[in-house]
């Protein structure tokens, strides 16, 4: 009963976008191989507690070591498959992973997210951090719509930010008694 994505619809599965070039899989396999071997190495260096358990069968490194071996083994298979699909051929075409516009939007979202969650939260009062983040995010992503109506959009973004900060604080902290950062 293997599901078959039908024509004309976005598949819910991972392969719903254009397939990755084999070379991307090869690089991924290399990173995963290093990761798997790293996990294995760290697991082997863990104490065995053999003197306490008499057998060493409860050693903390057994399970992660097993995972490390499996990840390394599967990444070798991934790499071999990528090579079989032409990852090493000189003619392999590289489609850009992200368009320039996508990369810019993604970078903006990630940078603002890290600035908010990593720096502002815990430093500023939560309502203020949330308000500033929502304002900055909305303004940044609506900036490209052009100068017409920009002042109005900025005011709306400010109100949205303020509303979010206050509403989240009230609902979570006062109504549901959840501690906020």
């Amino acid at each position: 009963m293997t599901p078959t994505p039908e024509e004309g619809a976005a598949s819910p599965f991972a392969g719903d976008r254009a397939p990755l070039p084999p070379r991307a899989d090869l690089y991924t396999a290399a990173v995963l191989l290093a990761f798997g071997l790293g996990v294995l190495g760290l697991a082997l260096n863990m104490p065995t507690f053999a003197e306490q358990s008499q057998s060493g069968l409860t050693a903390p490194g057994i399970v992660p070591g097993f995972y490390g071996i499996v990840i390394a083994g599967l990444s070798v298979l991934l790499g071999l498959r990528a090579i079989r699909r032409g990852a090493l051929s000189a003619s392999a075409q590289h489609a850009p992973a992200l368009s320039r516009a996508d990369a810019r939007q993604l970078g903006t979202a990630a940078a603002l997210g890290i600035l908010y969650a990593g720096v502002m939260v815990g430093t500023l009062p939560f309502w203020m951090a949330a308000a500033l983040f929502v304002f900055a995010f909305t303004t940044a992503f609506e900036w490209d719509r052009g100068p017409a109506g920009r002042p109005r959009r900025i005011i709306e973004a400010a109100l949205l930010g303020l509303g979010t900060g206050l509403a989240v604080t009230l609902v979570f902290e006062r109504l549901f008694l959840v501690r906020l950062p």
Binding site: M1, P3, F13, P60, V63, R179, L180
Partner: protein, 499 residues
């Protein structure tokens, strides 16, 4: 016992909670970029101070509502609100383009309502007896249940089985970070006290499904406006009488797939749709606005919800990603799902049944009444919605243990989830790995200690052997053409002339 379950659940303001929670679920599901998993994870935060009963009701209502809500944007925008609704775009959107958006939503409501009801019936009938059967499972069997979950999720949930397995084992690895139970040794902590405490399941899930979704949503094209003209959404009785076979078949497929660890609603919908197409007399209409196709997809995905809760209650193994979060929420609220549930609190299974039925009924009410307001919700620009979602993610990650470290975990998990998705790794096995990591870890070591290092009980005990065989079959399923080659070998042998 079932009546007792209803009586227990309906105490207090249950109906009030059900109404607001289903509404939130539908809105979350309807908005592209917000998934049922994210919804259940974020709402878990809100339920911290509630009693376990109300908390479970709220989360189940959000889950049921979100899976249903995804069909709204699938029909009106041709964009599935949740991955589970992708199959509904095939016939839902063509119906809407013909000016039958209301009829499509009516069919979706009817199919979804019947699907959840069917799945709930199966849950009520089989979960208690399966729970009693699961009492025979020891460490060896539970180890195989966990491995089977990872393998089947890897084989079927992502299209690329190899990447599915890798994602599953990355999830299992993440679950090993922090102190282990036997010697309290902090694995992969590197002297960091926060890491020694382990990575919380909820911050990781909020990261993988919340932050990664926000990043993903912000880099795509802007969603176009929807049709504002809606015809009648009242479902027709004829749709049930005409397609009762499709409804029953899709309900059975959806529930079965839900009960398989880690597969989830999207696969249930696709499989139900494919089965309906194969069996239909009007298969040429599929993809062009087939009522039967839409009914099959909606019934299948909604039947999957109770199906996915069956292994949670009986084995402590989630059937889908939202069910994984639901299971984590159960543990947070002091309910320990798994085989022992049949002994410690057998009435809990019937309470869950009652909650599912209540959620399903409320969903039906909203499906018939809440059409126009949902259209407005769908028009909210992502530049205004996504920062609010991100703020909620931060609250969700922080609230459980009040550690700023958990916010960093959320960010890291979000980035990892985004990169893995970009590299076409499926997320369901990763989540299952995270959830099953502890189960696998403990039972492997416990089994080894019990057998004195002898591996044979893992293969020779009857239930273990069956589970091991199923795991091998699930892994072989993923090898392209393997079954065809084996079948070919047998057919050649039979066809060969005898000497």
């Amino acid at each position: 016992m079932l009546a007792g379950g209803f009586a227990h659940v309906l105490q207090g303001g249950a109906i009030f909670h059900a109404f607001w929670a289903v509404l939130i679920g539908i809105v979350i599901g309807a908005l592209p970029g917000l998934t049922a998993t994210m919804g259940v994870a974020l709402m878990t935060t809100l339920t911290f101070t509630m009693g376990p009963q109300v908390a479970m009701l709220v989360l189940i209502c959000v889950y049921v509502g979100a899976i249903y809500g995804g069909s709204r944007s699938a029909i009106l925008l041709n964009i599935p609100g949740t991955p589970a609704s992708a199959a509904s775009t095939l016939d839902g959107f063509p119906l809407a383009r013909k000016g039958l958006a209301g009829r499509a939503m009516g069919i979706s409501t009817l199919g979804s309502w019947l699907g959840t009801l069917f799945g709930t019936l199966i849950l009520a009938m089989f979960a208690p007896s399966f729970g009693e059967f699961a009492l025979q499972f020891g460490s060896y069997e539970m180890f195989w249940v966990a491995v089977f979950g990872i393998v089947i999720a890897g084989s079927l949930s992502g299209g690329d089985a190899l990447k599915g397995y890798i994602a599953g084992f990355i999830g299992l690895f993440i679950a090993t970070i922090g102190q282990e139970t036997n010697h309290a040794y902090a694995r992969f902590a590197f002297g960091n006290g926060d890491l020694a405490g382990g990575l919380g399941l909820l911050p990781v899930l909020v990261g993988v499904f919340g932050v990664a979704e926000v990043l993903n949503a912000m880099r795509g094209p802007v969603v176009k406006a929807v049709s504002s003209k809606i015809d009648s959404v009242i479902p027709r009785l004829r749709d049930v009488t005409q397609y009762w076979r499709t409804i029953l078949r899709s309900g059975a497929i959806g529930t079965f797939i839900g009960a398989m660890p880690g597969l989830g609603e999207d696969i249930a919908a696709w499989s139900s749709y494919a089965a309906a197409k194969r069996a239909s007399a009007e298969r040429e209409m599929f993809g062009r606005g087939s009522v039967e196709g839409l009914m099959a997809a909606e019934t299948g995905e909604s039947a999957c919800v109770p199906g996915a809760i069956i292994p949670v209650l009986t084995l402590a193994v989630p059937g889908s990603a939202p069910a994984a979060v639901l299971m984590a929420a159960m543990m947070i609220h002091g309910v320990n799902p798994g085989p022992m549930l049949a002994i410690t609190t057998p009435e809990f299974i019937y309470q869950i049944v009652a909650m599912l039925v209540i959620a399903d009924m409320v969903k039906l009410v909203y499906g018939l009444l809440l059409v126009k307001p949902l259209l407005w919700v769908l028009l909210i620009p992502r530049s205004r919605l996504m920062p609010i979602v991100f703020v909620l993610c931060t609250v969700g990650a922080f609230a459980i243990t009040s550690r700023l470290f958990d916010i960093w975990v959320m960010l890291g998990a979000g980035l990892l989830g985004f990169v893995l998705r970009e590299l076409r790794f499926p997320m369901a096995p990763l989540v299952l790995g995270l959830v099953l990591g502890d189960l696998l870890d403990k039972n492997l070591l416990r089994g080894l200690v019990l057998s004195g290092g002898d591996l044979s009980p893992f293969f020779t005990r009857p239930i273990s052997a069956v589970l091991c065989g199923l795991t091998v079959l699930a892994a072989m399923w993923a090898v392209p053409g393997l079954f065809a080659r084996i079948a070919g070998l047998f057919s050649r042998r039979w066809a060969a002339p005898r000497p």
